[in-house]
Structures are given as structure tokens and as C-alpha cells.
């Protein structure tokens, strides 16, 4: 899997969504792939794992435009 943004916080819990983003609870800040730091303003955030989002580090649903086999974490199907 390609690199993904990093979540910072004392009690960070993550949940990988097959074919889509990484859900993160409890983060205070997120470091994007370009090193920029973003404050977390909602209870749960979705971090882009496909590198296609136009609002990185956040997921914007763009992973749905990829063919299913090229979506991130297609291997974590539950």
C-alpha cells in the first residue's frame, strides 16, 4: 500500500475501509504526505489512502472513480 497521512493524538483509533479511506477517531492533528499539518475539527475524519483526493489529507470520495482493483486496501475486505 502507498503512504498515507499520519494522525497525531493521545488516543488515536483507526479503522481501515476496504477500497477507501482510513477512518480516524481521537486525532488532534494530521500530517499530510507533503508535511503540512492540519487540525482535526470533526469527531471522525477520513484520511485519503488512494492519493487521488483533491482535499488531501482528507478523503473526498475520489477513490470511487478508481477501478475496484486499484482502490486502496482492496485486500482488507472483511
Amino acid at each position: 500500500m502507498s503512504a498515507i497521512p499520519q494522525a497525531l493524538g493521545a488516543d488515536v483509533r483507526t479503522q481501515a475501509c476496504p477500497g477507501g479511506p482510513l477512518l480516524v477517531r481521537g486525532a488532534e492533528q494530521v500530517v499530510a504526505l507533503d508535511g503540512s499539518v492540519h487540525d482535526v475539527l470533526r469527531p471522525v475524519v477520513a484520511l485519503c489512502r488512494c492519493a487521488c483526493s483533491s482535499r488531501a489529507p482528507w478523503c473526498d470520495g475520489a477513490h470511487k472513480m478508481l477501478p475496484p482493483a486499484r482502490r486502496p486496501g482492496a485486500e482488507d475486505v472483511r
Binding site: 476496504p18 477512518l23 470533526r42 483533491s54 470520495g61 470511487k64
Partner: protein, 349 residues
């Protein structure tokens, strides 16, 4: 056409009747709910309840008693057997039509292979119908974009509220995640970020009337149905699975379209603030769709497998009413009409 900053309708005004059903409801509301009266059987037959203005205005009015109510109308009408008798007749007609209309898609989603989440996303991504967001994003003119904003205001100014009725009907795990979503819809503790309020700001910045239900007398049945169908699901314990599926479908069909809506708003030169609501939804609903489909619907169906069909049904009802809305609006635009700001029919029935 000039956008109107005020439609002349005050929040809390009753709507204007558009036929015998809505007239009957308004007549009852002018009386006293504590005076007993007959349960009246009405002629509720309708070829197409989603295109029936009279039926939709009547239902919208009946449901509104459970939301904000009306100025000068006794709130006791909310639980009046006489009104509930009318509501049940209208709901039966609407439900029969809807269940029939979406059955093929629901059956296919039930029969498809894969886990619930992948079948749910597949249903949302492949549901047949025109793409209103592509038209608004790429080619609609300024009057059409304003028209789109005014139509959507009837639902968007009460966004999240119909779904909130379902919360007490769910088990702990399901309601915990649902409320995580609703908390974000209601601004995550910041009143100025409540999504309904963001939509009011969109309306004001676009020069449109930002008052609750301001355009209710101007929009046709298909626009009112965006509000009535989800209100029906939210208000019936029996439809709790469908209410949850409807919510998840709203979330799962929002991020990419909202990017196009925001692009359309900017393309026709409306102020940036008009796009704020849509910008927020690109990001918020990319989170909400995962929570809603995987955790809310997922936990509900794991605990209550018998509700799986209702969850998919609720999704299909959301998608179907959106398709009917899109078809109505695109047909009006093809005719050169920009309702509601150009097609107000403020004539009492």
C-alpha cells in the same frame, strides 16, 4: 428572472392548498383538535403520488406538525386521530407506489454477491437515472443554479432532522455511530456549522429567501417528496431499517456530486459563500458514508438480519426520489422554465 430575496411566505405559515386533499387537511387545522369529529375516508387514488402536488402538499403539512408546526395552529393536531386517519390513507398510496417502483433494484441488491457494504455502495453507484450534479456542475446557467438551490432548500433547511427520529429505535452500537454522524450534521458543537444553517447561508449569499420552507408553495410534488418520503421513514418505527438505509444512501451519494455543485456555483459567478455548504459536504460525507454504510447499517443488520431488505429498500427510496426530482428539474429546464422562482403558482385551490 430575478431571484427573490423573499417569497413572501413567513416561516410557520400554512402552505397553499393545491386540491381537495390538501384543502381537507387545511380545513381541519383551522378547527379545534380537542373537538371530536368523524374519521373521513378520502379519495386518495393517484396515478403517480410522487408527481401529485395535492397529495404531497397534504402529506408535507401533516408531517410538518411533527417538526416545527405552524403559527396559530393548535399543536394538539399532531396526534389527532382525524389527521392521523388522513395521513395513513395518503401514506398507503405513496408506499404502495414506492415499493413497486424500487422492487427490481432492491431484489437485485439482495441477490448480489459480496458483503452488505459492497452491495450497498454498488446500489448507490449504479442506480439508473440522470446526473443532475453533472448538469449543474458543467452546463447549467445562473438562473438554473439559483433554481436548483431554491428547490433543494425545502429539504436542506431541515437536513438531518427526519433521520434523527430513528435514534431511539436502535440498539446501543448502532445508535452510537448514527449519533456520531448526526453530531457532525448538527455542527459538532458549533452552532454556526450546523448543516441546515450552512444551507441558509448559501441561500442568503445567493440572494434567495433563506427562511425555513420559504419555497414550499412554489415547488412541485417531486421536490416536496424529497422531504415527505424520508419523514415517513423516520416517523415509523416499523421503517427503522429503511430510515437507516435512506440516511446511508444520502451520505453515499453526496461527496462527488457536492464537488460538482460547488463547481457549478463558482462557474456561474455566485459568491464563494454560496459554495460553502457543498464544500463542507465533500469532506464531511466522505466520512459519513463510511460510518453510515459500514457501521450504522452494518451493525443493524448483524444484530437484526431480517432488516437487511429494509436497509436496501431505504437506500433505493432515497435514490428513486432523487431521480424523480432530477428528471422533473431537467425537464423544466429543457422547457426553458426556471421554477420555482419563475413558476410561482400562488393560487388557492
Amino acid at each position: 428572472m430575478q431571484p427573490t430575496p423573499s417569497t413572501g411566505r413567513a416561516p410557520g405559515d400554512l402552505p397553499i392548498a393545491r386540491g381537495p386533499l390538501s384543502r381537507h387537511v387545511l380545513d381541519l387545522l383551522s378547527g379545534d383538535p380537542d373537538v371530536d369529529g368523524p374519521l373521513v375516508d378520502l379519495d386518495v387514488s393517484s396515478d403517480d403520488p410522487l408527481a401529485d402536488d395535492d397529495l404531497q402538499v397534504a402529506l408535507w403539512t401533516l408531517y410538518e406538525l411533527h417538526f416545527r408546526g405552524f403559527t396559530g395552529i393548535d399543536p394538539g393536531w399532531e396526534w389527532s386521530p382525524r389527521l392521523l386517519h388522513v395521513r395513513r390513507q395518503l401514506e398507503r398510496v405513496l408506499l404502495a407506489h414506492l415499493l413497486n417502483a424500487v422492487a427490481p433494484e432492491v431484489d437485485a441488491a439482495m441477490a448480489a454477491s459480496g458483503d452488505l457494504a459492497s452491495r450497498f455502495f454498488e446500489l448507490c453507484e449504479t442506480y439508473p437515472g440522470p446526473s443532475l450534479s453533472s448538469v449543474v456542475g458543467r452546463q447549467a446557467d445562473r438562473a438554473q443554479v439559483l433554481d436548483f438551490l431554491a428547490h433543494r432548500s425545502v429539504y436542506q433547511l431541515k437536513e438531518a432532522d427526519p433521520h434523527t427520529f430513528v435514534v431511539p429505535r436502535l440498539d446501543a452500537v448502532t445508535k452510537a455511530t448514527l449519533v456520531e454522524i448526526q453530531f457532525d450534521e448538527y455542527g459538532a458543537g458549533r452552532p454556526d456549522r450546523v448543516h441546515q444553517h450552512l444551507y441558509a447561508r448559501t441561500m442568503a449569499a445567493a440572494g434567495l429567501d433563506d427562511a425555513y420552507a420559504a419555497y414550499v408553495d412554489d415547488v412541485p410534488a417531486q421536490t416536496l417528496a424529497l422531504s415527505t418520503v424520508v419523514s415517513m421513514l423516520g416517523l415509523h418505527q416499523r421503517w427503522r431499517g429503511a430510515a437507516v438505509g435512506h440516511l446511508a444512501a444520502v451520505e453515499a451519494t453526496s461527496s462527488l456530486p457536492c464537488r460538482l455543485y460547488a463547481a457549478g456555483v463558482r462557474r456561474v459567478g455566485l459568491p464563494d459563500e454560496v459554495a460553502t455548504f457543498f464544500d463542507e459536504h465533500v469532506e464531511a460525507d466522505a466520512v459519513h458514508e463510511q460510518l453510515a454504510v459500514r457501521d450504522v447499517c452494518g451493525s443493524l443488520v448483524r444484530a437484526h438480519p431480517e432488516l437487511e431488505r429494509d436497509v436496501l429498500l431505504g437506500a433505493a427510496l432515497c435514490l428513486h426520489t432523487e431521480v424523480r426530482f432530477a428528471e422533473m428539474l431537467l425537464a423544466a429546464w429543457a422547457d426553458g422554465s426556471t421554477a420555482p422562482t419563475g413558476r410561482a403558482e400562488r393560487v388557492p385551490a
